[in-house]
Every structure is written in structure tokens, then in C-alpha cells.
Symmetry: C2
Subunit: 191 residues, 2 copies
Amino acid sequence: MKLLEERIIRDGRILPGDILKIDSFLNHQIDVRLLDEIGEEFHRLFMDCRPDKILTIEASGIAIATATSRSFGYIPVVFAKKTAASNMSDAVYQASEHSYTRNIDYVIQVAKDYLKEGERILILDDFLANGEAMNAMIEICKMAKAEIAGCGSVVCKTYQSGEQRIKDLGYKVEVLARVKSMTDDGKIEFE
Amino acid sequence: MKLLEERIIRDGRILPGDILKIDSFLNHQIDVRLLDEIGEEFHRLFMDCRPDKILTIEASGIAIATATSRSFGYIPVVFAKKTAASNMSDAVYQASEHSYTRNIDYVIQVAKDYLKEGERILILDDFLANGEAMNAMIEICKMAKAEIAGCGSVVCKTYQSGEQRIKDLGYKVEVLARVKSMTDDGKIEFE
């Protein structure tokens, strides 16, 4: 997605530890006009998959998922909640995720009421790094016997393993901005 | 807002401890069509205040703020981040908030880059209980020397202190659904 790549080049910042910060327009401050373009693009890429519902994860995924819902004619959005610890409950599906940037394990959970057998789920997130969050959402869909219509991410670094990991599970994966390389002096190249 | 009140009566659940759950359409699963109506209503209520930017707090505020931004012709959204502990940084404004439902203190923070002197800020949130989150966002706006254009909440219980607390600070407060009473057998009355 050209518009997004241009924006990342203009406003993205590279921090030590191979971290790409896009918090001036997506992850802390949000440019809602760009957000709507992102929603339109996900609609174009996944409309053939006919999703019934969008699943994402708090916090940054919420804006992306609601914008995409609108492009799909208002399908429901569910956002998984992140907690530091697992608290057993019959009312929720739970899966764990290891955060490499923070080096801690999260448990993500979705109330059973909001994910049903046979529903076609489009899974969306902002970053696809090693695929931990995406994989946890896939696990939760499987527990609910929901079908996975597709997996979309706004950004990925193609030299990390996440995209291939999810593709290897047999799912359609679409990424809007595929970062091929980043240098310490701030240069970002896309595939 | 009639549509919202009807939805709360239909789908809201009352849990022990005077908790109103609206997670089937706003706080976990999101009805994006209703969300857009909420955005339109906030626009109607605050358009005379001419906000430059919307400030909210993760996670549930994000969807509300981005929908409202759209009704305002795409003004930027900034969401405050919640952390369990204060980590001093020159790059962020911080304020603390006591959560009565969870009985812990949060530190909320906003990067200084995204809140500027003289900007007119519309503060939005999903629930206004005792006004702790709203008050912390007001504190952060003051640190930035930003102006507060107004404060909006989707729901409040009128027998809690939050709305009056924020009004007593001298700010315009608008609430879309004002719960007057809730009973254990599931009856909800609005003002």
C-alpha cells in the first residue's frame, strides 16, 4: 500500500533494537483518514473471503479493526483482551503469547459469547513480527470452532518469521507494508 | 441518546457490585454501526467547542474516539497509555488514576510530541464513574498547556460522583446515556 509506505518513510522512526515506531500516526496518535484507507485496503484484499466478523487484539488493533468493519458494511468487531496472568474461567477462550519486545508472556482472552462455531473470522493486527499474537488469535478461533477467513497485518518485517509461520499453517496472509530492511541512520526499504 | 439507551436496556447486563456490562456491543465486541452513531452524537454536542484533537484512553476509548474524529472531518486522535507503574521519562506527560473496579492505581501517559500548547482537546471515554480517568487526562492536558474543549462520556451513572466532579472543575461535560438506577433483577432506568 503505497500511501502507507510513504507515510512510514516520512514519519516512522527507527529505534535501537530494530524497532520501527509508527506511533505518530497509528499506535499512539492516530491519523483517522489514513486509518480509513487501511480499512478500504483490507476490504479489497479480503472481500473474496466473506468474513462474518473481525477479531483483533487490544489496544492498537481496535482502530484498524473498526475502520475495516465499516468497509465491510459493518460486520462486528471483537477485540481480544491481554492480561498478565491466566485466570481460569469457563466463560472465555484463552491462549498465550510471548512478547519478544517486552520479553513477557501474555494471556489473551475472548468471551465465548462473542466467537461462535462456523463464523468466518478475519484476524487483523498492526504488526506481524514473530506471529505470536496472530497465532494466539488463531488458537482461540480453533477453540471456538470458528473458521479463519484470513489474516491481515498493517506492517511486517519480511526478515522476521511471522508471515511465513502463519502461511505455513495454511492461512491467507496479507500485509500492507512489507519492510525489507531498516538501517540505524533511518533508511527504510520495502519489498 | 435514545438508540444507545435502548441498546443498553436490551443488551446490557448488571453484575454484582453495581457493574453495568456493555461488552456485547462496545467494550469487547463492538457494533461499529452504533459506534458511528455515537461519533455523530458527540460531534453534534461538541461542534461548537471546535476541538483540534481528541484525547482518550486505551483500550475501550479508542473505537469511540476514532469514530468521533471521522464526524469532525478527521481530527487526530491520541490515546493515553495505561501502565501499572510510573517510569520517569522526559518524553511523556504522566498522571495517576485510581481504578475503583480493580482497586489499583494506574499511571497513564501521553508522549509530549502529541499534545501541544494551545491545542483544543476533546476528551472522550466510555464510562465516567468517579471521574478518575477523565481527571487524569485533564491533568495531562494542563501539563501540556493544551486547552480543554470539552469532556464526553458514553455512559455514566448519575449517582456516582464523576460527572459533577468534572463539571466542578469548570468544564463542559456531555454524557450520552445517564443511568439513574440499576436493580439486581436487571432493570435499568435512565434520567
